[in-house]
Symmetry: C2
Subunit: 255 residues, 2 copies
């Protein structure tokens, strides 16, 4: 039975897509069967894995509007055990189009429930908002990973996100558990980064991944080649940190 | 007659809030009367200027729902010529609450129209989405500034944003003009950054500000003290670059 993991934070640019793509790839090379769902209308996870953004190709937008089955939209990637559900810009409009729909928060849950037996992990990349797409991902998810930069504005937003997760658990999804807070783009030379890291580790004791993702230019170069970091430069510190994260996640979930 | 400027980009973490706060402060010290409107439910511009996020205090949410006048929500800041309209987390819900409202895209235009004579500049910080708040800001605005990191995912999103701006100009706001693309967090040691900068300058010839904002840790430290960079460390490269941007903007608008 697979685990559905939402990768969410309404704060923008904290490394949600970079984490979704590279964690998915790292789990796949650890022989786990993985489905990555691109839930962001920007479709960065789609292009980050080398696919162009096409409205004619079946994607998450069509699935959520009930215009096609999930199976029809699945794309194979360069990694044997990694498959992708792409996104396109039409998802920007989905919020308004689905607002009248009965049970609009649980559309993704229904769509993914049938797939849980076909994968070890289903990862959902979320947009930088607390709108319908993120609510759908948190309602479908068993676990949530919260990437966060070691910066002041990121720290500010953490409490309101954790409140939202609590609200979803109480009203829509009692299974939802925080898998962990993931510190990203960490620059060891920067004293603010150390201060924020210490504050987060002491305040959210035990809920922060041991693995810290360093700032590493290879991680921001890889998507321009349409590849996860482990296919672009596997010896880079960025790629290694996501391989370590995959291992830590597997260990955390099996205890 | 004041100029309304939206600071928008649906890509997250590109420096919208940092640019809104520091450009507003730089214009204020150049003796321009400035109103900064925090249009983001994260309320980062509000905390970046030293105010706590309070739901009881009148803010943009109450103004847009018609529960109070704009004047009632205005806050004075440490800078004589800079005033703020704060935000709070309730704005996350405003999208859904206003979806039925007639003319929902022009609420901010109506609210700000009466104020244009009281300020030289009204800046609006937008959330990382193309939802109702950003549409409202683009409908109210005379100009739009698009902050953008010199990274691949940022470049990807630029075309869809410029298409949205064009759509708003055709359907909702014929006055809307691109003031410029602002390159932010530029790291000269990084070859990807140079490549992206050259691509943007050649493709969007003339529509990119000469001023480039460097990556500078002082810009990310300042908000934790509730101050714009020019009050935290005026000699920093970050603060100086926003002072130069303010000058360039004033020159661009007067020609
Ligand atoms: N560890 C890292 N080191 C260097 N650059 C990184 C790292 N992680 C992410 N980046 C870069 O930082 C930018 C923001 O990351 P990313 O797009 O993954 O964040 P996001 O949270 O998905 O953004 P959004 O809120 O727009 O969805 C991207 O250009 C990405 O390439
Ligand atoms: N030039 C810079 N140098 C260093 N750090 C910066 C710079 N500009 C912004 N930052 C930091 O980068 C992070 C992202 O910037 P900011 O929050 O202003 O972007 P944003 O586009 O407003 O994000 P969002 O999409 O969440 O609204 C913040 O932590 C900020 O302090
Ligand atoms: Mg993303
Ligand atoms: Mg912001």
């Amino acid at each position: 039975m697979g685990t559905i993991i939402a990768i969410a934070n309404q704060k923008g640019g904290v490394g949600k897509t970079t984490s979704a793509v590279n964690l998915a790839a790292s789990l796949a090379v650890a022989e786990k069967k993985v489905l990555l769902v691109d839930g962001d209308p920007q479709a960065n996870a789609t292009t980050g894995l080398g696919f162009s953004v096409q409205e004619q190709r079946k994607n998450l937008y069509h699935i959520m509007l009930g215009e096609c089955q999930l199976q029809e939209a699945i794309l194979a990637t360069e990694l044997e055990h990694l498959q992708l559900i792409p996104a396109d810009n039409n998802l920007f409009g989905a919020e308004v189009e689905l607002v009248e729909r009965e049970g609009r928060e649980s559309i993704l849950l229904q769509v993914l429930a049938a797939e849980k037996n076909n994968y070890d992990f289903i990862l959902i990349d979320c947009p930088p908002s607390l709108g319908l797409m993120t609510v759908n991902a948190l309602t479908a998810a068993d676990r949530v990973i919260v990437p966060m930069q070691c910066e002041y504005y990121s720290l500010e937003g953490l409490t309101s996100l954790l409140n939202t997760i609590e609200m979803i658990r109480e009203n829509l999804n009692p299974r939802l558990v925080l898998a962990g807070i993931l510190l990203t783009m960490f620059d060891g030379r920067n004293s603010l980064a150390h201060r924020v890291m210490e504050e987060v580790r002491s305040y959210f004791n035990g809920q922060v991944f041991e693995t810290v993702i360093p700032r590493n230019v290879r991680l921001s170069e890889a998507p321009s080649f349409g590849k996860p970091a482990l296919l672009y430069d596997v010896r880079s510190t960025g790629s290694e940190s996501y391989l370590a994260l995959a291992q830590e996640l597997i260990n955390r979930l099996s205890t």
